[in-house]
């Protein structure tokens, strides 16, 4: 059994010897040997690394009070970006704390095989997130193709009143959304073959597509070109945007292993 090695950045008073009982904010897990992230962590705390069993956990002192502040969300993201630039990283969800340093070390040790496997699963890969929002357009096209809508439109025109207009507008909104959803399905069908894995996120009336794609870094350009092609093809129904490359948030098992009998 190896003794836990604590690599403290020169600037940081990060987990010192007396800190075994202190709660730590955990950013992510990487293979051992990464450089300490320079970005300040949550609440401005310096980020340090804890090394155990060939793995590193990027941590900082847990802030006394954790809230989803813009500044802190961005800090979480920035630390992970920096780690991801060096190689594979398993990003933690925002606001994950390890109650004590030794708990974290023990977890790394007991779950090392599984964590290492997961790191291998995202090695050389990035996550790109594609979102699509409804473009309220081509009403004429909708009305022309949909007899029900056309009838409703003509009736509303003959007898225009508030209620009728609301009903017509709602029917159009439904049509617009349906078109956007159809386009979104096409987008996923085209893009998924380029990706190692695909995960779809929650959608709503406005944002009808939110999908994450795990891509080999080498395929990123090809993927972007494919998104651009889709954006041209369906831009009158669905506005696409790509975010990334990101740490692979969507491609880690959210709960890697049950706590080892503790």
């Amino acid at each position: 059994m190896t003794a836990p090695a604590t690599t403290a950045p020169e600037s940081a008073a990060a987990p010192g010897p007396a800190a075994a009982l202190k709660a730590l904010y955990v950013y992510g897990i990487t293979p051992a040997g990464v450089r300490v992230p320079r970005s300040p962590g949550v609440d401005g705390s310096p980020v340090g690394l804890l090394t155990e069993s060939g793995l590193c956990a990027a941590v900082s002192d847990a802030p006394p009070r954790l809230r989803p502040r813009r500044r802190d969300l961005l800090a979480h993201q920035a630390v992970l970006d920096e780690l991801a630039a060096q190689g594979p990283v398993l990003p933690m969800r925002f606001a994950v704390l390890s109650p004590r340093t030794d708990t974290l070390i023990a977890q790394l040790r007991s779950d090392a095989a599984h964590l290492t496997r997961q790191l291998d699963g995202v090695r050389g890969c990035v996550e790109l997130n594609v979102k699509g929002t409804v473009v309220p357009g081509h009403f004429a096209d909708l009305v022309r193709r949909d007899d029900g809508l056309r009838t409703l439109a003509l009736r509303t025109r003959r007898r225009p009143d508030y209620e009728a207009n609301v009903r017509l507008g709602e029917a159009i909104a439904l049509g617009v959304r349906r078109e956007a959803r159809r386009a979104a399905r096409e987008v996923v069908d085209r893009l998924a073959p380029l990706a190692v894995r695909t995960v779809q996120g929650a959608t709503d009336d406005e944002q009808v597509l939110s999908a994450s794609f795990l891509l080999r870094s080498a395929d990123e350009a090809r993927f972007r070109a494919a998104v651009a092609e889709r954006a041209r093809a369906c831009g009158d129904r669905l506005a696409l945007s790509v975010t990334g490359p990101l740490p692979c948030y969507s491609f880690v098992d959210p709960r890697p292993a049950p706590p080892a009998g503790r």
């Binding site: 989803p68 961005l74 993201q77 909104a173 996120g201 651009a228 709960r255």
Partner: protein
């Protein structure tokens, strides 16, 4: 027909906070022996980050646009954004058209001025829940919405109880 320039719609970007919010909050690893701090205000954040297009106001706008169509003849080439003017050139600042063509406009605006959000961040640190609203809001007519002033956004201690959210319409319902 509007053409959608891929430079505009698909410009690679580091990602505004809004774009990665759901990933940071809902994805990523959680380890059982670790503690996930329960976050107050999260539901509010997510609700605010989204805009509800389904409102009577929008419906009336859509109907108005539809009423201007020539229904007797084939008018296939017209699109509503076109009738409102090109989204990039004219929509911004025209209150009426703005709301209807909003999603597109916002996308474009985000791409054109992606640094807008972070820059704004440095100044206003305090109203945290509020500052996470990246886009202007439209009036909501949905009854489920809570009033959303500072009071509503204020966290109540460590209590993380679920709050009213806009109803998620499933794909099936739309068929």
């Amino acid at each position: 027909m509007i053409t959608y320039d891929d430079e505009v719609v698909c410009a690679p970007r580091a990602g505004t906070l809004y774009d990665v919010l759901e990933l940071i909050l809902d994805r990523g690893m959680v380890i059982d022996v670790f503690v996930r701090v329960s976050l107050v205000g999260i539901e509010i954040l997510k609700v605010d980050a989204r805009i509800v297009v389904a409102s009577v106001d929008t419906y009336l706008r859509f109907a108005e646009a539809c009423n201007r169509l020539d229904l007797e003849h084939d008018v296939r080439s017209k699109t509503v954004p076109e009738m409102f003017g090109s989204p990039v050139a004219k929509t911004v600042g025209r209150a009426g058209a703005r709301r209807t063509a909003r999603s597109l406009t916002d996308k474009v605006r985000d791409v054109l001025a992606p640094e807008h959000e972070p820059a704004h961040d440095e100044e206003a640190e305090e109203p945290e829940e509020t500052e996470l609203r990246p886009r202007e809001r439209t009036e909501r007519t949905r009854s489920a919405q809570r009033p959303r002033g500072r009071t509503a956004a204020r966290p109540r201690d460590e209590d993380d109880r679920p709050r009213a959210r806009p109803r998620r319409r499933t794909e099936e319902e739309d068929r």
